[in-house]
Amino acid sequence: MTLTQNVKLKHMKYLKIENHKGFYRLDTTVENWIELDQINKDHLLSLLKLASTQVFEMDEYNDELLQNPAHNIIYRNIYGKLNDFLNNKTRFQDTVDAMYKTAIEKYKI
């Protein structure tokens, strides 16, 4: 991986591990990281929407790095689910591209 790619990916990161804790953010243009145990349903939904539409990067789950046990569980669970989603993103994108395509084309002037 080149340095530029690394920087780019860093900029597309939404979930990270730091100081034994998990963090998330909803805007990659600012370093506004929030502790993962603070996450609410609106933010989780926003993360899911971002994962479905943007290049979405996360620090891989690492049991040793996440010493905070609550953070460890929440990170492992959300990371696992988002990762599963991202693994199916090509299929998801294909479905989205085909979705209501004939209707949109028909009614577009």
Partner: protein
């Protein structure tokens, strides 16, 4: 000349709508219509006992036959009447019955030939200009055994007759001898034979000059009612005083002729604009439905989504996750098990893969564009591609099966552990589905916003009129009531019209049925404009209706019009209607009942019928006199005659005296 009907039904099969057979109707039919030979041709079945019963009860030859579903079309197969042949035929027909069990079944040509090995001894008549037709290739393959084809109507018979080197046309009743039958159909064929025999019929069917629609009048006439009234296959005018039986005659023609377009008296008159628009809109329902079809499918899908529930699911998932995380220190024997906090496997949706397989299969199976396809992808590579995709599909489907099986185990164990433990359980959640639902709603909004752009969606020219259909945004809750044809309170829904998804939910809350939701997003209206581009007036609406009805008549076999003058003024009748009626009578038989001299005298019909009611021996006797317009006398079937000129003036101009008076005094004075 002998009158034959070789296509009749006496057994209700899977191919018919149910009916009760009544043998007395066969006798009545043969006597009333003076039939010289009959064939019993039920769908894919031959009932020998019933056939023998019918044969015994009639004095005319009755041929055993069957109507076979062959390669998607219908074929009549008729054989001779001798006892040995009938029982042989019965055996063969049983084999056909064994192969055809539902109305969609059909036998192949090879099966047909293996059952009826000696085709030379039968008469074979395929549906030709009649649905469902036997394919041309099948007819060719049965050469030289097919010489005639069954036409669906008088006009189709004439069309086939004119075709050079075409099959000899025949017209048969295709009737069901049902117990509730009132008027009999009048579709028969005359063959030039002195004595009926299967061989004789067969030779006539190979020679167009030996068949005819009528006994003595050739193919320019046809039998219009079951009591023997013959009319021209062109334009006929029925005249007569009030209550002399004109409409009764027209009704009888309608019920004997099958596929009839009947324009009833006053039916074209439309002074009320709202009624006219409504009928117009129903005429355009195909355009309406075609235009909204895609929206309908989208809504059928979107309406299944429950975004609110999805959000609640995220909330409860997160709450349970956090609770589980904080309780981590207090884990007991049960919650310590790995499976307790294990996620279930997500199941792969293989719809896209199935679509790809279907597309590759289409590429392989397509013959029409095979040369272009093979220029870029070899048939071999396509097959390999298909094979690999199928392997992938099998693998993925197996994997899904395994995951479903494992999930059921994981869920069972988690449930049992959950009952025993004091710790919280993490709720299940499907991120893939939730994300997809969010996108669906977004795309639905996109679809509706595009749809709301007002536009003209169809323009149809009809004579001097144009019908323009356009879409409009909905401008108020009252328009929603018009769409729904009910009085529900649509204001709360309409206040969300700018937000399609909220609007959809509100419409559901209001009680709009899911299947009707698609009607509420745009208003579709059609406008009928005259040749100057203005909205049509009252009189023009009737004209438009007539032009529309006459255009529609081309889908039928015969056109009947009862008193067109009831809806129009004389000038329009003379200028426009007469031409229209004349033109359509070139395509099919047309019968016009009229009192009006403009229609009656100036339309120049091919044939005239005058109805009369007389009191004879204290009883009313109804008669129909017919003849050419130039005939001095018109004749009734019972031999009675009337003077043509006098009778026409009586019917149209209230008699000679009134006519002369009007001509010399009123019209001439006006002229001066």
């Amino acid at each position: 000349m002998k009158k034959i009907d070789l296509h009749t039904h006496t057994v209700s099969t899977v191919c018919d709508s149910a009916f009760d057979f009544d043998i007395s109707k066969v006798k009545e039919y043969v006597e009333k219509l003076k039939i010289d030979a009959l064939a019993i041709t039920n769908h894919n079945v031959f009932d020998m006992n019933q056939y023998n019963l019918i044969k015994k009860s009639l004095t005319i030859p009755v041929f055993p036959g069957i109507e076979i579903d062959l390669e998607g079309g219908h074929l009549l197969l008729i054989t001779d009447t001798d006892e040995f042949e009938v029982s042989n035929f019965d055996e063969k027909c049983k084999r056909v019955s064994d192969l055809i069990k539902t109305k969609d079944d059909s036998i192949t040509l090879a099966q047909f030939k293996s059952i009826f090995t000696d085709l030379g001894k039968y008469v074979l008549i395929p549906h030709h200009d009649k649905s469902p037709e036997i394919k041309h290739a099948t007819i060719t393959a049965l050469n030289p055994h097919i010489t005639s084809g069954e036409a669906g109507s008088v006009s189709k018979f004439k069309r086939m007759f004119k075709e050079q080197n075409g099959l000899t046309p025949v017209l048969f009743s295709d009737m069901r001898f049902r117990a509730d039958l009132k008027d009999f159909p009048t579709r028969h064929t005359f063959v030039d034979l002195k004595e009926i025999s299967l061989a004789g019929i067969k030779s006539c069917l190979a020679d167009k000059s030996k068949i005819s629609l009528t006994k003595e009048s050739g193919n320019d006439f046809f039998q219009a009612t079951d009591d023997g009234l013959e009319l021209s296959t062109g334009l006929n005018i029925i005249l007569g005083e009030r209550s002399s039986g004109k409409t009764v005659t027209l009704n009888k023609i309608a019920s004997s002729s099958g596929n009839t377009k009947y324009i009833k008296q006053f039916s074209l008159l439309q002074n009320d604009e709202a009624t006219f628009n409504r009928t117009n809109d129903s005429r355009l329902s195909i355009i309406y439905n075609n235009y909204l079809n895609e929206l309908k499918s989208v809504i059928e899908d979107v309406v299944q989504i429950d975004i609110k529930q999805n959000h609640l699911n995220i909330e409860s998932y997160l709450d349970s996750l956090k609770k589980f995380a904080t309780e981590n220190e207090k884990k007991d024997l049960f919650s310590k098990c790995t499976l307790f906090s294990e996620d279930i496997f997500s199941i792969d949706d293989l719809e896209n893969l199935d679509k790809v397989i279907e597309s590759v299969t289409t590429l392989i199976e397509n013959n029409e564009y095979q040369d272009i396809i093979s220029k870029y992808i070899s048939a071999d590579n396509l097959k390999k591609l298909l094979l690999e995709l199928i392997e992938k599909a099998i693998f993925s489907k197996n994997e899904n099966e395994e995951k479903i099986w494992l999930n059921s185990i994981i869920k069972d164990i988690k449930r049992e552990l959950g009952i025993k433990t004091t710790n919280s359980i993490i709720e299940e959640i499907d991120f893939y589905k939730i994300a997809l639902d969010e996108i669906k709603v977004r795309k639905f909004v996109e679809v509706v916003n595009e749809l709301k752009t007002e536009r003209q969606i169809n323009r149809e020219e009809l004579g001097k009129f144009s019908i323009v259909t356009s879409t409009y945004r909905i401008s108020g809750a009252s328009e929603l009531k018009d769409i729904a044809h009910d009085k529900k309170a649509y204001s709360p829904a309409f206040s969300n019209y700018h937000n399609p998804y909220e609007y959809l939910l509100k419409l559901k809350e209001t009680g709009v049925e899911e299947a009707s939701l698609y009607k509420f997003f745009v208003k579709i209206e059609s406008e009928t404009l005259n040749k100057d581009g203005f909205k049509v007036s009252g009189g023009e609406r009737s004209e438009f209706n007539l032009i529309h009805e006459i255009k529609d008549a081309t889908k039928y076999d015969i056109l009947l019009i009862d008193e067109p003058e009831s809806s129009f003024d004389n000038l329009f009748l003379k200028k426009e209607i007469n031409t229209l009626i004349k033109n359509i009578s070139e395509l099919m038989p047309v019968v016009v009942v009229t009192h009006n001299s403009t229609v009656g005298a100036s339309i120049k019909p091919n044939y005239v019928a005058i109805t009369q009611k007389n009191l004879e021996n204290r009883e009313f006797v109804y008669r129909v006199f017919t003849g050419y317009p130039s005939d001095k006398e018109l004749t009734c079937l019972d031999g009675n005659k009337i003077k043509n000129y006098d009778s026409i003036l009586n019917c149209l101009e209230a008699g000679i005296d009134a006519y002369t008076e009007r001509k010399t005094q009123t019209y001439e004075i006006l002229k001066d």
